[in-house]
Each structure stands twice: as C-alpha cells, then as structure tokens.
Symmetry: C2
C-alpha cells in the first residue's frame, strides 16, 4: 500500500524524524517523545510534525507523545528502509569520487540502514577496472545490464551537465524509478520516475536568509 497524495515536502521531512528517533533511541534509550520535542530536534514546527505523521496513521497519544520504537519501525517501513535498496553511481569524476568515499565509509560505520551503493559507472576507458574504496568502475555500456542483474533501484548522477539527460534516459529505460541528480541541469523523467536534485546553490540561498538577523 502506498499513499499517493502525500506531498514531496512531507516526504522530505520523514527521514529527519527518523534520524531524530534513531539517535534518541540509540544515544538516550528514549521510549516516548512529544511532537514538541521531535519538532525541536528536527527543526520542524510541532504542529507540522503532527500533521505530517497523521498522513500515515495515528502514531501519537494526546498528552503522552509518540512511542519511539514503534514510530521508528513505522517510518522505516513507510520509507522502504526495512529492506535492502541497491544504488548505482554514474560519473566517477571528482564529485562522484568524493560521494563514493563518503557513502561507503559511512555505511561501513552505520549498518542500520540498507541503502547500499554497490555499482560505479563511467564512460572513460582509462577508469574501467579502477577501484574507489572497494568498488570497481564499470563501463557505462554495462549500465542497463547491471541495473537488471543487480536489481539497482536508485541511480546517482554525477556526470557533466551535457551528458546527464542521456544517462537518465538509459537508466529509466532499464527500469530505474528514482534518481538523485548532482548535474547542474534540469532533467526530464517520465511519470512514475522520481527525480531529486541535490543542489548546492539552493542550500546556500536558503542559508542566506539567516544572515543579518
């Protein structure tokens, strides 16, 4: 069962809530948390926390708060984080390289999630067979084949802007439903495919709001 009308803005906050709950449960052995506290820790207004979570069921009790373990399990299930999700990365330039190192090292330290980056692709023959941390770089030509064989579900795109659409089209044709794009270009995907743009500029613009306070 999926909830088709949930807005992206709501979905964007769910991993934040989950992280707060994971930390509170791991570091403080916390059993109950009010929407006020969950909101404060996640940087979201408590009323919005209650509204967001209400889309998915009745998790909290008035005056008691949320049961940390239960809500954590439910959020994991809602986010599909109760199973392994396999990720590929296309474009092992400076940014791709950095992301692989970051992600592989993090996931070695924190095994509580199962979003695993397991395949790297590039179109530069000089890189084929090279390793980043423990992952080999494969030719872009193998992308479609590997997506199917390895059951990759998410593709991270770190190719130059001019090649990004082409890579996305290849991945979508091979069955990919979720894409995290770092190329500074607006991409088109068919209905049913979800595209997220990781954009440094937007982050900086948002931070600028807080200057001059």
């Amino acid at each position: 069962m999926r909830w088709h009308k949930i807005s992206d803005a709501v979905v964007r906050r769910l991993p934040l809530y989950l992280r707060v709950l994971e930390e509170a449960s791991r570091d403080e052995d916390k059993q109950l948390m009010s929407s006020q506290e969950l909101g404060d820790r996640a940087g979201v207004a408590p009323a919005l926390v209650r509204k967001d979570l209400a889309w998915f069921g009745e998790f909290g009790k008035q005056g008691v708060g949320y049961q940390v373990d239960y809500l954590k399990t439910e959020l994991r299930r809602i986010l599909n984080l109760d199973r392994e999700i396999r990720v590929g990365l296309v474009g092992v330039g400076a940014l791709g390289h950095a992301l692989v190192r970051y992600h592989r090292i993090r996931s070695m330290r924190n095994s509580s999630f199962h979003i695993n980056l397991i395949a790297l692709f590039d179109n530069d023959p000089a890189k084929f067979g090279e390793h980043v941390v423990d992952l080999e770089i494969w030719p872009l030509e193998l992308l479609a084949e590997k997506i199917k064989a390895l059951k990759l579900e998410i593709i991270i795109v770190t190719v130059p802007a001019a090649h990004a659409q082409e890579v996305v089209d290849l991945a979508v044709a091979a069955g990919i439903k979720a894409i995290l794009n770092f190329a500074p270009v607006k991409l088109t995907v068919p209905e049913g495919v979800h595209l997220a743009n990781a954009d440094l500029s937007l982050e900086l613009q948002r931070l600028a709001y807080y200057l001059n306070e």
Copy 2:
C-alpha cells in the same frame, strides 16, 4: 526587519519558488503565475505555497495570481540575495575540490545571484598556494583573519568528521553566522548561528519512499 518565527521548512521552500519564478520570467517571459502553477513547478502543494508566502506579505490577488517580477524581487530581498554574499570553503579534499569546481563554473555562467565562493582553506601545507579553478588555497591558520578582512558570511565545511567541530568553532569565533556542513557528524553551534547539513544519506532515504509504488 526579519521574521523571527518563520520555520526552517518554510525558508527551505523559498529558494525553490524563486528558482521557478526566475526560470518562468527568463525562459517564458511570464508575468503572472497562480499558486497552483507555482506549486506544481516547485513540487509543493498550492495551499502550502499560499501559506508560505503569506508569512511575508500579501503577494497574490485572488483569481489573478502572483506578479512574477514583483514576487521575484521580494523573495530575493527576503533571502538577502539582493546583495553580494561571500563564502569560504574549508577542507579542499575530493569533495571540497568538486564543490569548488561546481560552484565557480556555475557562478561564471549564471551571474544573476551574488553568492560568491571566494576563499579556500586547508590544513595541509602541501596544498598551500595551489589553485582550484581560479582560487588559491590558504592555510587554515588564516581563516579568522580572512573571514574578517574579506567579510565572509557563510562557511562550507568539507573537512573530515573529526576536524569539523574545531573548524566550526574557529569560524564562529571569527563572526560567521551561517554554515553549510558536509562532514558526516552532528555539530554544535551557539544560538544565533545557523547550521545546515548537506546529507546524501537523507536524500537517498527520501528517494527510497518512492520505490515500489
């Protein structure tokens, strides 16, 4: 004048609205836009668009929509994007390198904003004096001095997790009020300093929601 009670979630959406308006005005010479259309293009529910913008004034007319140019100017002003904002980056490893290249090349192409990355720092003497695109790498020891002399307002932190807090403390002591952190670690900043965490893991967790629909 600032609006102290605006939640981070609202602020997070403002640059998205601004980008939609910029694109519509540049590519389509659009004069008016309904909250429905603005919401569709930004991936936000129209009711939320209206609610977000209402925090800052009365920008739209019922049945007519928003005046693109006026709202664009106002959002720029609200976000402090009507003036130059100077940014420094600390930690020119693989990720830092990639971000500098990405940002410098983008800002050369798109000069409509004035968020300028103008200073790089590292603690590795082997890198001192090296250039990334057109920027020289300075010793970390100069951070406080350069923050003041160059009036840097935002610091991007791409140092290893173990050094991030130390760098942030140095920057905050020198007057920095906004930090974009890429180090995979939870940092502490004093009241009045705004910390944003750019986190690949959160993006991937969010995308996982859309799998299996």
